[in-house]
């Protein structure tokens, strides 16, 4: 079963795509948080496949589009981390309204993983699976902008992220790695990080289960192994709950 949902998050309207088994009741809920920006667009089908995979093993998955990207509407100014966390929590609330008896987990990829880490405290999630999370988002955004500038110098016809899509100024706010690490370290639910063996991954707090799959983040174009491992990790909280 598939549905499209709108969720009101502050002044924003967030688009959500729901996958659930039919006619039987789902066993577990998963909120899928995609990556941000143009890179996020490249991973969108991957996120849909994760959501579909969750529905195939009997769970229900809700995938959202961040405010100001894809089909979600942003009415305020530039998007900040607080807005992204609020959007995630609002969509989670919408999912709980739809299936009130389920326990919900969070799953985020890249910057979606960062937002999932920040939302853990307020979400009361049964578990979280962070896929290749950007534990230092400022470094990621700096690198992204450097690559955009380099492509412009090489003669590509657009500056930045295409059609003048740029990093919202609020996302540039210095957010220390410590905030994210603290959020991970103080989480009370089971946490798993799924990532490639390359490039050399950063250290994680001791309460986080680290799952590595062979391959490299940059050179792997088809992230099947990552999806496979993510689905395995997502099934774990459901089994523990049952």
């Amino acid at each position: 079963m598939r549905e499209c949902l709108w969720t009101v998050s502050g002044s924003d309207q967030v688009y959500g795509s729901l996958y659930a088994p039919w006619p039987k009741e789902p066993s577990q809920g998963v909120l899928v948080l995609p990556h941000w920006g143009r890179d996020g667009r490249y991973l969108l089908e991957w996120c849909h496949r994760v959501a579909l995979g969750v529905a195939r093993y009997g769970g229900c998955a809700l995938l959202l589009h961040w405010p100001g990207t894809e089909d979600s509407e942003r009415r305020g100014g530039a998007t900040g981390y607080d807005d992204l966390v609020l959007a995630a929590l609002s969509t989670l609330g919408r999912g709980r309204e739809r299936f009130p008896s389920l326990s919900w987990s969070l799953s985020g990829v890249r910057l979606g993983g960062t937002v999932a880490a920040l939302a853990l405290g307020a979400s009361d999630a049964a578990g979280a699976v962070l896929v290749e999370p950007e534990l230092d988002p400022q470094a990621y955004l700096r690198e992204r902008e450097r690559r955009a500038r380099a492509s412009y110098v090489r003669g590509y016809p657009h500056l930045g992220w295409g059609f003048y899509e740029k990093v919202p100024s609020q996302l540039r706010d210095p957010m220390s790695r410590e905030v994210i690490y603290d959020s991970l370290a103080t989480a009370r639910c089971p946490l798993t990080v799924v990532r490639y063996a390359g490039p050399a991954p950063a250290e994680l707090p001791s309460n986080v289960r680290d799952r590595r799959v062979p391959g490299h983040r940059v050179y792997s174009t088809d992230h099947r192994r990552l999806r496979w491992e993510t689905l395995r990790a997502l099934r774990r909280p459901a089994k523990a709950a049952s």
Binding site: W46, R49, L52, D71, F163, T221, W228
Partner: protein, 286 residues
């Protein structure tokens, strides 16, 4: 304005659509055909912004993900062309408009051409944004390019065993951006100029380009070459003032396309329909 997401059953699979309805009685219907690798929102939400501009004029617009991309990720690529046509057919049924205006971006030229050729009476006009002209395709192969091609083939053969093992363990490959437009859809794009000429023989064609666009010069030459009898217009979008050589921003695309749609449907862009008028018209209609 009402934004209505939907999931349409086609022979290719479920296709994700978003229809933007005007407040009053619709005066026309327009479908957006995004470029290859793009979703229905477009880069920097260019198509969301366009739909938002068209609704106050009374134009209903459709945005949809091509089979294989975004919400339509689980579609069968072998029925890509049929799936795309069926969505446009579904949109005609929803709006009650027999003739659609099409806005095609880059690789969207392929489905637009097919729609015009298959049923010319069902298309009102075509707007082409950033036409796909590939002059480099005519460059003869150099020894270096042949060497690179051979090296790529050898590498691919070497990785063949690993690929087979990965397929056995993890299943078939996920659709990547390279496969979102199937070969039969993109094959015609090497002859973009001919496709545009064919379209302009059947319906009014309007093209938008910039001075920095590699296809701009070719489009201008085409404009000069085509006889006056063909309905073809070319407009050059202004680049953002802070960066004169760059690709246009979303606003530089939305404004001229909205003007074109207003002209095509015979609407006055400077006088958008007031909410009260729209309600009155709706009551009269009901």
């Amino acid at each position: 304005m009402r934004i209505e997401p939907g999931l349409v059953e086609t022979s290719a699979g479920v296709v994700g659509t978003i229809t933007t309805w005007p407040s009053g009685v619709p005066k026309g219907a327009l479908a957006i055909l995004p470029g290859g690798g793009s979703t229905r929102a477009g880069l920097d939400q260019v198509w969301v912004k366009l739909a938002g501009q068209l609704a106050p004029l009374g134009v209903t617009s459709l945005r949809f993900d091509y089979p294989g991309s975004g919400e339509s990720h689980s579609c069968r690529m072998s029925r890509w062309c049929q799936g795309t046509s069926e969505v446009l057919h579904w949109f005609r049924g929803q709006t009650g408009q027999d003739r659609l205006a099409l806005v095609a971006m880059c690789a969207g030229l392929a489905p637009a051409y097919r729609e015009v050729v298959r049923s010319p009476g069902s298309v009102l006009g075509v707007a082409m944004v950033m036409a796909p002209f590939y002059p480099y395709m005519e460059v003869p192969a150099s020894p270096m390019s042949l060497y690179r091609q051979a090296r790529r083939a050898a590498g691919s053969a070497r990785r063949g065993a690993n690929r087979l093992l990965a397929r056995a363990r993890f299943g078939p490959p996920d659709p990547s951006l390279n496969t979102i437009l199937p070969k039969e859809a993109v094959a015609g794009l090497a002859h973009g100029e001919e496709l545009l000429v064919e379209i302009s023989k059947s319906v009014p064609l309007w093209a938008l380009s910039t001075a920095s666009d590699s296809a701009g010069a070719a489009l201008a030459a085409l404009h000069d070459r085509l006889s006056a009898g063909l309905a073809y217009q070319l407009e050059l979008a202004s680049s953002p003032p802070q960066d004169p050589g760059a690709f246009p921003g979303a606003e530089q695309v939305v404004a001229p396309v909205t003007r074109w749609a207003a002209r095509l449907f015979g609407l006055r862009e400077d006088e958008p329909e007031r909410e009260e008028d729209a309600l009155e018209r709706e009551m009269e209609a009901s």
